[in-house]
Protein backbone atom coordinates (compact mmCIF):
# COMPACT_ATOMS: atom_id res chain seq x y z
CA UNK A 1 0.00 0.00 0.00
CA UNK A 2 2.91 2.30 0.67
CA UNK A 3 3.95 4.09 -2.48
CA UNK A 4 7.22 5.94 -2.39
CA UNK A 5 6.86 6.77 -6.08
CA UNK A 6 5.11 9.91 -4.90
CA UNK A 7 8.50 11.16 -3.67
CA UNK A 8 10.13 10.56 -7.04
CA UNK A 9 7.41 12.30 -9.01
CA UNK A 10 7.43 15.34 -6.70
CA UNK A 11 11.13 15.31 -5.90
CA UNK A 12 11.89 18.49 -7.81
CA UNK A 13 9.14 20.47 -6.12
CA UNK A 14 10.04 19.25 -2.63
CA UNK A 15 13.78 19.74 -2.87
CA UNK A 16 14.31 22.55 -5.36
CA UNK A 17 11.37 24.62 -4.21
CA UNK A 18 10.87 23.59 -0.60
CA UNK A 19 14.43 23.07 0.56
CA UNK A 20 16.46 25.46 -1.57
CA UNK A 21 13.77 27.99 -2.48
CA UNK A 22 14.55 28.22 -6.17
CA UNK A 23 11.51 28.35 -8.38
CA UNK A 24 8.11 29.93 -8.81
CA UNK A 25 7.29 30.52 -5.11
CA UNK A 26 9.40 32.68 -2.86
CA UNK A 27 10.47 30.41 -0.04
CA UNK A 28 12.87 27.69 0.89
CA UNK A 29 14.07 26.23 4.17
CA UNK A 30 17.72 27.08 3.52
CA UNK A 31 16.92 30.60 2.33
CA UNK A 32 15.34 31.21 5.71
CA UNK A 33 17.67 29.17 7.93
CA UNK A 34 21.02 30.56 6.81
CA UNK A 35 20.28 34.30 7.28
CA UNK A 36 18.35 33.51 10.48
CA UNK A 37 21.37 31.70 11.95
CA UNK A 38 23.81 34.45 10.92
CA UNK A 39 21.66 37.36 12.12
CA UNK A 40 20.45 35.57 15.25
CA UNK A 41 24.02 34.82 16.29
CA UNK A 42 25.07 38.38 15.49
CA UNK A 43 22.34 39.85 17.67
CA UNK A 44 23.05 37.16 20.26
CA UNK A 45 26.65 38.36 20.67
CA UNK A 46 25.35 41.81 21.59
CA UNK A 47 22.79 40.35 23.98
CA UNK A 48 25.40 38.15 25.63
CA UNK A 49 27.90 40.98 26.03
CA UNK A 50 25.16 43.31 27.27
CA UNK A 51 24.27 40.84 30.03
CA UNK A 52 27.86 40.94 31.22
CA UNK A 53 28.07 44.74 31.14
CA UNK A 54 28.92 46.44 34.41
CA UNK A 55 26.20 49.04 34.05
CA UNK A 56 22.81 47.86 35.27
CA UNK A 57 21.15 50.02 32.63
CA UNK A 58 22.59 47.72 30.01
CA UNK A 59 22.62 44.37 31.77
CA UNK A 60 19.09 44.51 33.18
CA UNK A 61 17.26 45.05 29.85
CA UNK A 62 19.38 42.30 28.31
CA UNK A 63 18.49 39.94 31.15
CA UNK A 64 14.80 40.74 30.81
CA UNK A 65 15.03 40.20 27.06
CA UNK A 66 16.59 36.76 27.52
CA UNK A 67 14.22 35.67 30.29
CA UNK A 68 11.17 36.85 28.35
CA UNK A 69 11.94 35.07 25.11
CA UNK A 70 13.08 31.91 26.84
CA UNK A 71 9.75 31.72 28.62
CA UNK A 72 7.54 32.02 25.53
CA UNK A 73 6.94 29.52 22.72
CA UNK A 74 8.36 30.42 19.33
CA UNK A 75 4.92 29.94 17.77
CA UNK A 76 3.63 32.75 19.96
CA UNK A 77 6.44 35.09 18.84
CA UNK A 78 5.69 34.29 15.19
CA UNK A 79 2.02 35.14 15.76
CA UNK A 80 2.90 38.38 17.50
CA UNK A 81 4.85 39.55 14.49
CA UNK A 82 2.47 38.07 11.94
CA UNK A 83 -0.70 39.68 13.36
CA UNK A 84 0.44 42.75 15.21
CA UNK A 85 3.25 44.45 13.30
CA UNK A 86 1.12 44.84 10.14
CA UNK A 87 -1.68 46.36 12.27
CA UNK A 88 0.66 48.83 13.89
CA UNK A 89 2.55 49.79 10.75
CA UNK A 90 -0.49 49.53 8.51
CA UNK A 91 1.41 47.72 5.81
CA UNK A 92 1.56 44.05 4.95
CA UNK A 93 4.81 42.21 5.63
CA UNK A 94 5.64 39.16 3.51
CA UNK A 95 5.87 35.78 5.25
CA UNK A 96 9.61 35.75 4.73
CA UNK A 97 10.08 39.01 6.61
CA UNK A 98 7.81 37.90 9.44
CA UNK A 99 9.52 34.54 9.85
CA UNK A 100 13.05 35.95 9.63
CA UNK A 101 12.27 38.70 12.18
CA UNK A 102 10.67 36.24 14.58
CA UNK A 103 13.57 33.78 14.36
CA UNK A 104 16.27 36.42 14.78
CA UNK A 105 14.60 38.06 17.79
CA UNK A 106 13.75 34.74 19.43
CA UNK A 107 17.01 32.90 18.84
CA UNK A 108 19.16 35.88 19.83
CA UNK A 109 18.03 35.26 23.41
CA UNK A 110 19.35 31.68 23.27
CA UNK A 111 22.55 32.60 21.41
CA UNK A 112 23.07 35.39 23.95
CA UNK A 113 23.05 32.89 26.80
CA UNK A 114 25.59 30.73 25.01
CA UNK A 115 27.91 33.69 24.43
CA UNK A 116 27.59 34.77 28.04
CA UNK A 117 28.28 31.28 29.38
CA UNK A 118 31.23 30.93 27.02
CA UNK A 119 32.86 34.14 28.21
CA UNK A 120 32.15 33.35 31.85
CA UNK A 121 33.71 29.92 31.45
CA UNK A 122 37.16 31.51 31.01
CA UNK A 123 38.77 31.52 34.46
CA UNK A 124 39.29 34.92 36.03
CA UNK A 125 42.99 34.11 36.52
CA UNK A 126 43.47 34.21 32.75
CA UNK A 127 42.43 37.86 32.65
CA UNK A 128 44.60 38.69 35.62
CA UNK A 129 47.58 36.92 34.05
CA UNK A 130 47.04 38.74 30.76
CA UNK A 131 46.89 42.07 32.57
CA UNK A 132 49.99 41.16 34.54
CA UNK A 133 52.02 40.54 31.37
CA UNK A 134 50.98 43.96 30.13
CA UNK A 135 48.10 43.39 27.68
CA UNK A 136 45.46 46.10 27.40
CA UNK A 137 41.79 45.27 28.07
CA UNK A 138 41.06 45.01 24.35
CA UNK A 139 44.10 42.81 23.76
CA UNK A 140 43.10 40.59 26.68
CA UNK A 141 39.66 40.10 25.13
CA UNK A 142 41.08 39.56 21.64
CA UNK A 143 44.02 37.24 22.40
CA UNK A 144 43.15 35.54 25.67
CA UNK A 145 39.46 35.50 26.54
CA UNK A 146 37.71 35.17 23.17
CA UNK A 147 39.83 32.31 21.75
CA UNK A 148 39.10 30.22 24.82
CA UNK A 149 35.49 31.37 25.07
CA UNK A 150 34.74 30.46 21.46
CA UNK A 151 36.29 27.03 21.94
CA UNK A 152 33.98 26.45 24.90
CA UNK A 153 30.97 27.79 23.01
CA UNK A 154 31.21 25.62 19.90
CA UNK A 155 29.19 22.59 21.04
CA UNK A 156 26.31 24.65 22.43
CA UNK A 157 26.43 26.97 19.46
CA UNK A 158 26.07 24.17 16.94
CA UNK A 159 23.28 22.59 18.96
CA UNK A 160 21.43 25.90 18.88
CA UNK A 161 21.99 26.22 15.13
CA UNK A 162 20.47 22.77 14.69
CA UNK A 163 17.52 23.82 16.83
CA UNK A 164 17.03 26.92 14.71
CA UNK A 165 17.29 24.91 11.52
CA UNK A 166 14.52 22.61 12.77
CA UNK A 167 12.46 25.54 14.00
CA UNK A 168 12.30 27.04 10.51
CA UNK A 169 9.62 24.41 9.82
CA UNK A 170 7.31 26.52 11.99
CA UNK A 171 7.36 29.24 9.32
CA UNK A 172 5.01 26.99 7.36
CA UNK A 173 2.28 27.82 9.91
CA UNK A 174 1.99 31.33 8.47
CA UNK A 175 2.16 29.99 4.94
CA UNK A 176 5.85 30.36 4.18
CA UNK A 177 6.85 27.90 1.47
CA UNK A 178 9.52 25.75 3.08
CA UNK A 179 10.17 22.02 2.95
CA UNK A 180 7.33 21.27 5.39
CA UNK A 181 4.84 23.43 3.48
CA UNK A 182 5.92 21.87 0.20
CA UNK A 183 5.22 18.42 1.64
CA UNK A 184 1.82 19.61 2.85
CA UNK A 185 0.97 20.91 -0.61
CA UNK A 186 2.01 17.68 -2.30
CA UNK A 187 0.09 15.71 0.31
CA UNK A 188 -3.09 17.70 -0.33
CA UNK A 189 -2.91 16.56 -3.94
CA UNK A 190 -1.59 13.01 -3.55
CA UNK A 191 -2.81 11.97 -0.07
CA UNK A 192 0.35 10.07 0.83
CA UNK A 193 1.05 11.49 4.29
CA UNK A 194 3.16 8.63 5.65
CA UNK A 195 5.57 8.58 2.73
CA UNK A 196 5.83 12.35 2.37
CA UNK A 197 6.34 13.25 6.02
CA UNK A 198 8.79 10.40 6.51
CA UNK A 199 10.71 11.62 3.47
CA UNK A 200 11.03 15.20 4.71
CA UNK A 201 11.96 13.87 8.15
CA UNK A 202 14.88 12.08 6.50
CA UNK A 203 15.85 15.23 4.58
CA UNK A 204 15.86 17.31 7.76
CA UNK A 205 17.79 14.56 9.51
CA UNK A 206 20.51 14.48 6.86
CA UNK A 207 21.15 18.19 7.39
CA UNK A 208 20.97 18.29 11.19
CA UNK A 209 22.91 15.08 11.70
CA UNK A 210 25.72 16.16 9.42
CA UNK A 211 25.86 19.47 11.27
CA UNK A 212 26.30 17.65 14.57
CA UNK A 213 28.93 15.29 13.09
CA UNK A 214 30.83 18.27 11.75
CA UNK A 215 30.66 19.94 15.15
CA UNK A 216 32.04 16.86 16.86
CA UNK A 217 34.95 16.72 14.41
CA UNK A 218 35.57 20.45 14.85
CA UNK A 219 35.53 20.10 18.63
CA UNK A 220 38.12 17.35 18.55
CA UNK A 221 40.38 19.46 16.36
CA UNK A 222 40.07 22.38 18.75
CA UNK A 223 40.86 20.34 21.82
CA UNK A 224 43.97 18.76 20.30
CA UNK A 225 45.23 22.13 19.06
Amino acid sequence: MLDFGVIVSNFKFLIVQGLFGVGGFAGGTLRLAIPAIALGFGLGIFVGLARLARSRWISLPATLYVEFFRGVPLVMVIFWIWFIIPQLLRLPIPEYGVALTAFVIFEAAYFGEIVRAGIQSVPRGQVEAATAVGLTAAQTMRFVVLPQAIRNMVPALVTQMIVLFKDTSLASIIGYMDLTKAAQIVNNREIKPFELYLFIAVVYFIFTYSMSRFARRFERRLTTA
Binding site: V72, I200, Y204, Y209
Partner: protein, 237 residues
Protein backbone atom coordinates in the same frame (compact mmCIF):
# COMPACT_ATOMS: atom_id res chain seq x y z
CA UNK B 1 -1.14 54.34 15.22
CA UNK B 2 -4.80 54.22 16.09
CA UNK B 3 -5.27 50.86 17.73
CA UNK B 4 -8.25 50.74 20.09
CA UNK B 5 -7.44 48.65 23.14
CA UNK B 6 -10.29 46.69 24.64
CA UNK B 7 -9.02 44.33 27.29
CA UNK B 8 -12.52 43.21 28.25
CA UNK B 9 -12.54 40.87 25.23
CA UNK B 10 -10.46 38.54 27.38
CA UNK B 11 -13.24 37.87 29.87
CA UNK B 12 -16.43 38.78 28.04
CA UNK B 13 -18.34 36.18 26.05
CA UNK B 14 -16.60 32.87 25.47
CA UNK B 15 -13.02 34.09 25.82
CA UNK B 16 -12.46 33.38 29.49
CA UNK B 17 -13.70 29.87 29.09
CA UNK B 18 -11.55 29.34 25.99
CA UNK B 19 -8.44 30.52 27.79
CA UNK B 20 -9.14 28.22 30.72
CA UNK B 21 -9.73 25.28 28.38
CA UNK B 22 -6.53 26.15 26.57
CA UNK B 23 -4.49 26.18 29.77
CA UNK B 24 -5.98 22.86 30.87
CA UNK B 25 -5.31 21.23 27.50
CA UNK B 26 -1.74 22.57 27.42
CA UNK B 27 -1.10 21.21 30.90
CA UNK B 28 -2.75 17.86 30.14
CA UNK B 29 -0.83 17.26 26.91
CA UNK B 30 2.42 18.45 28.51
CA UNK B 31 2.13 16.27 31.60
CA UNK B 32 1.24 13.13 29.62
CA UNK B 33 3.95 13.80 27.06
CA UNK B 34 6.42 14.47 29.87
CA UNK B 35 5.70 11.10 31.45
CA UNK B 36 6.19 9.39 28.09
CA UNK B 37 9.37 11.37 27.46
CA UNK B 38 10.89 10.51 30.83
CA UNK B 39 10.02 6.82 30.42
CA UNK B 40 11.50 6.71 26.92
CA UNK B 41 14.48 8.77 28.05
CA UNK B 42 15.34 6.40 30.88
CA UNK B 43 14.69 3.31 28.76
CA UNK B 44 16.77 4.43 25.79
CA UNK B 45 19.42 5.90 28.07
CA UNK B 46 19.77 2.55 29.83
CA UNK B 47 19.70 0.67 26.52
CA UNK B 48 22.67 2.70 25.30
CA UNK B 49 24.82 1.29 28.08
CA UNK B 50 24.08 -2.45 27.70
CA UNK B 51 26.80 -4.67 26.27
CA UNK B 52 24.63 -6.07 23.45
CA UNK B 53 25.30 -4.07 20.29
CA UNK B 54 21.97 -4.35 18.39
CA UNK B 55 20.12 -2.95 21.40
CA UNK B 56 22.59 -0.10 21.70
CA UNK B 57 22.29 0.65 18.01
CA UNK B 58 18.51 0.69 18.23
CA UNK B 59 18.55 3.17 21.10
CA UNK B 60 21.12 5.37 19.35
CA UNK B 61 19.02 5.36 16.19
CA UNK B 62 15.94 6.38 18.16
CA UNK B 63 17.72 9.24 19.90
CA UNK B 64 19.51 10.61 16.86
CA UNK B 65 16.65 10.30 14.40
CA UNK B 66 13.86 11.64 16.58
CA UNK B 67 15.62 14.61 18.07
CA UNK B 68 17.11 15.75 14.78
CA UNK B 69 13.82 16.15 12.92
CA UNK B 70 11.51 19.13 13.52
CA UNK B 71 8.68 18.54 15.97
CA UNK B 72 6.19 19.94 13.47
CA UNK B 73 7.10 17.19 11.00
CA UNK B 74 6.55 14.61 13.74
CA UNK B 75 3.17 16.12 14.52
CA UNK B 76 2.10 15.73 10.89
CA UNK B 77 3.65 12.28 10.73
CA UNK B 78 1.86 10.90 13.79
CA UNK B 79 -1.43 12.61 13.05
CA UNK B 80 -1.76 12.30 9.27
CA UNK B 81 0.76 9.61 8.40
CA UNK B 82 0.36 6.82 10.92
CA UNK B 83 -3.40 6.42 11.62
CA UNK B 84 -4.28 5.36 8.03
CA UNK B 85 -1.91 2.40 8.46
CA UNK B 86 -3.69 1.18 11.58
CA UNK B 87 -6.45 -1.45 11.46
CA UNK B 88 -9.93 -0.14 10.74
CA UNK B 89 -11.20 -0.61 14.30
CA UNK B 90 -8.30 1.23 15.88
CA UNK B 91 -8.80 4.11 13.45
CA UNK B 92 -12.48 4.42 14.29
CA UNK B 93 -11.76 4.37 17.98
CA UNK B 94 -9.02 6.97 17.63
CA UNK B 95 -11.06 9.43 15.59
CA UNK B 96 -13.95 9.27 17.99
CA UNK B 97 -11.60 9.86 20.97
CA UNK B 98 -9.77 13.07 20.14
CA UNK B 99 -7.19 11.59 17.77
CA UNK B 100 -5.39 14.95 17.44
CA UNK B 101 -4.75 15.09 21.18
CA UNK B 102 -3.24 11.60 21.32
CA UNK B 103 -1.20 12.10 18.17
CA UNK B 104 0.08 15.41 19.51
CA UNK B 105 0.87 13.89 22.89
CA UNK B 106 2.69 11.02 21.23
CA UNK B 107 4.68 13.30 18.90
CA UNK B 108 5.67 15.55 21.80
CA UNK B 109 6.58 12.65 24.09
CA UNK B 110 8.59 10.66 21.55
CA UNK B 111 10.45 13.77 20.37
CA UNK B 112 11.32 14.94 23.87
CA UNK B 113 12.09 11.40 25.01
CA UNK B 114 15.01 11.42 22.59
CA UNK B 115 16.20 14.73 23.97
CA UNK B 116 15.64 13.63 27.58
CA UNK B 117 17.72 10.54 26.89
CA UNK B 118 20.70 12.74 26.06
CA UNK B 119 20.20 14.75 29.26
CA UNK B 120 20.12 11.61 31.38
CA UNK B 121 23.08 10.03 29.61
CA UNK B 122 25.19 13.19 29.97
CA UNK B 123 24.36 13.28 33.69
CA UNK B 124 25.39 9.67 34.26
CA UNK B 125 28.55 9.99 32.13
CA UNK B 126 29.68 13.02 34.09
CA UNK B 127 29.99 10.97 37.28
CA UNK B 128 33.60 9.76 37.50
CA UNK B 129 33.98 6.00 37.65
CA UNK B 130 36.18 6.48 40.70
CA UNK B 131 33.10 7.44 42.71
CA UNK B 132 31.78 3.95 42.21
CA UNK B 133 35.15 2.36 42.88
CA UNK B 134 35.61 4.39 46.05
CA UNK B 135 32.14 3.36 47.26
CA UNK B 136 32.93 -0.32 46.68
CA UNK B 137 36.33 0.08 48.37
CA UNK B 138 34.54 1.47 51.43
CA UNK B 139 32.71 -1.85 51.61
CA UNK B 140 29.36 -0.92 50.05
CA UNK B 141 27.64 -3.49 47.87
CA UNK B 142 26.91 -2.58 44.25
CA UNK B 143 23.31 -1.87 45.12
CA UNK B 144 24.28 0.31 48.05
CA UNK B 145 26.83 2.14 45.93
CA UNK B 146 24.11 3.00 43.43
CA UNK B 147 21.51 3.87 46.04
CA UNK B 148 23.75 5.93 48.32
CA UNK B 149 26.32 7.41 45.95
CA UNK B 150 25.66 7.23 42.22
CA UNK B 151 21.93 7.98 42.06
CA UNK B 152 21.96 10.90 44.54
CA UNK B 153 24.77 12.57 42.60
CA UNK B 154 23.26 11.78 39.20
CA UNK B 155 19.88 13.23 40.17
CA UNK B 156 21.47 16.48 41.28
CA UNK B 157 23.40 16.70 38.03
CA UNK B 158 20.37 15.88 35.91
CA UNK B 159 17.77 18.11 37.53
CA UNK B 160 18.89 21.49 36.10
CA UNK B 161 19.11 20.41 32.43
CA UNK B 162 16.02 18.21 32.84
CA UNK B 163 14.08 21.20 34.13
CA UNK B 164 14.96 23.33 31.15
CA UNK B 165 14.14 20.41 28.86
CA UNK B 166 10.75 20.02 30.56
CA UNK B 167 10.05 23.70 30.03
CA UNK B 168 10.98 23.25 26.37
CA UNK B 169 8.38 20.51 26.23
CA UNK B 170 5.75 22.80 27.75
CA UNK B 171 6.53 25.54 25.24
CA UNK B 172 6.73 23.10 22.35
CA UNK B 173 3.23 21.86 23.12
CA UNK B 174 2.13 25.00 21.25
CA UNK B 175 3.18 23.29 18.01
CA UNK B 176 0.22 20.94 18.51
CA UNK B 177 -2.05 23.74 17.31
CA UNK B 178 -1.02 22.78 13.77
CA UNK B 179 -2.98 19.54 14.13
CA UNK B 180 -5.80 21.50 15.80
CA UNK B 181 -5.27 20.46 19.39
CA UNK B 182 -7.17 23.14 21.30
CA UNK B 183 -4.29 24.14 23.58
CA UNK B 184 -3.39 27.63 24.79
CA UNK B 185 -1.95 29.06 21.58
CA UNK B 186 -4.84 27.64 19.59
CA UNK B 187 -7.36 29.28 21.93
CA UNK B 188 -5.47 32.56 21.77
CA UNK B 189 -5.75 32.45 17.99
CA UNK B 190 -9.44 31.70 18.32
CA UNK B 191 -10.01 34.74 20.52
CA UNK B 192 -8.11 36.82 17.99
CA UNK B 193 -10.29 35.46 15.19
CA UNK B 194 -13.56 36.14 17.00
CA UNK B 195 -12.75 39.55 18.47
CA UNK B 196 -10.13 40.90 16.03
CA UNK B 197 -8.20 42.07 19.08
CA UNK B 198 -4.80 40.59 18.36
CA UNK B 199 -2.70 42.44 20.94
CA UNK B 200 -5.02 41.60 23.83
CA UNK B 201 -5.36 37.96 22.81
CA UNK B 202 -1.64 37.33 22.32
CA UNK B 203 -0.75 39.22 25.48
CA UNK B 204 -3.01 36.89 27.46
CA UNK B 205 -1.40 33.79 25.93
CA UNK B 206 2.13 35.13 26.34
CA UNK B 207 1.61 36.08 29.98
CA UNK B 208 0.15 32.66 30.77
CA UNK B 209 3.13 30.87 29.23
CA UNK B 210 5.52 33.16 31.09
CA UNK B 211 3.76 32.49 34.39
CA UNK B 212 4.11 28.74 33.96
CA UNK B 213 7.70 28.80 32.72
CA UNK B 214 9.03 31.32 35.22
CA UNK B 215 7.04 29.69 38.02
CA UNK B 216 8.32 26.17 37.37
CA UNK B 217 11.87 27.45 36.83
CA UNK B 218 11.94 29.29 40.14
CA UNK B 219 10.50 26.34 42.06
CA UNK B 220 13.12 24.05 40.55
CA UNK B 221 15.88 26.55 41.31
CA UNK B 222 14.83 26.44 44.94
CA UNK B 223 14.80 22.62 44.88
CA UNK B 224 18.31 22.66 43.45
CA UNK B 225 19.59 25.01 46.14
CA UNK B 226 17.90 22.99 48.84
CA UNK B 227 19.58 19.75 47.79
CA UNK B 228 22.94 21.08 46.61
CA UNK B 229 25.97 19.31 48.08
CA UNK B 230 28.34 22.02 49.29
CA UNK B 231 31.46 22.17 47.16
CA UNK B 232 30.35 19.48 44.72
CA UNK B 233 28.33 21.37 42.15
CA UNK B 234 29.29 24.92 41.36
CA UNK B 235 26.27 27.07 41.87
CA UNK B 236 25.55 29.86 39.43
CA UNK B 237 25.32 33.09 41.22
Amino acid sequence: MSYQFNWSVLWSGQSGNWLLQGVLTTLAISVLAWLLAVALGILSGAMRTVPWKPLRALATFYVEFFRNVPLLVWMFFWYFGVPPLLPRGAQDWLFSHRAEFWAGMFALGVYHGARMSEVIRAGILSIPRTQFEAAVAMGLTTFQAYRLVIVPIALRLIVPPATSESLNLLKNSSVALTISVAELTFQTRQIETYTAKAIEAFTAGTVLYLVFCVGIASIMARVERRFAIPGLIARGG
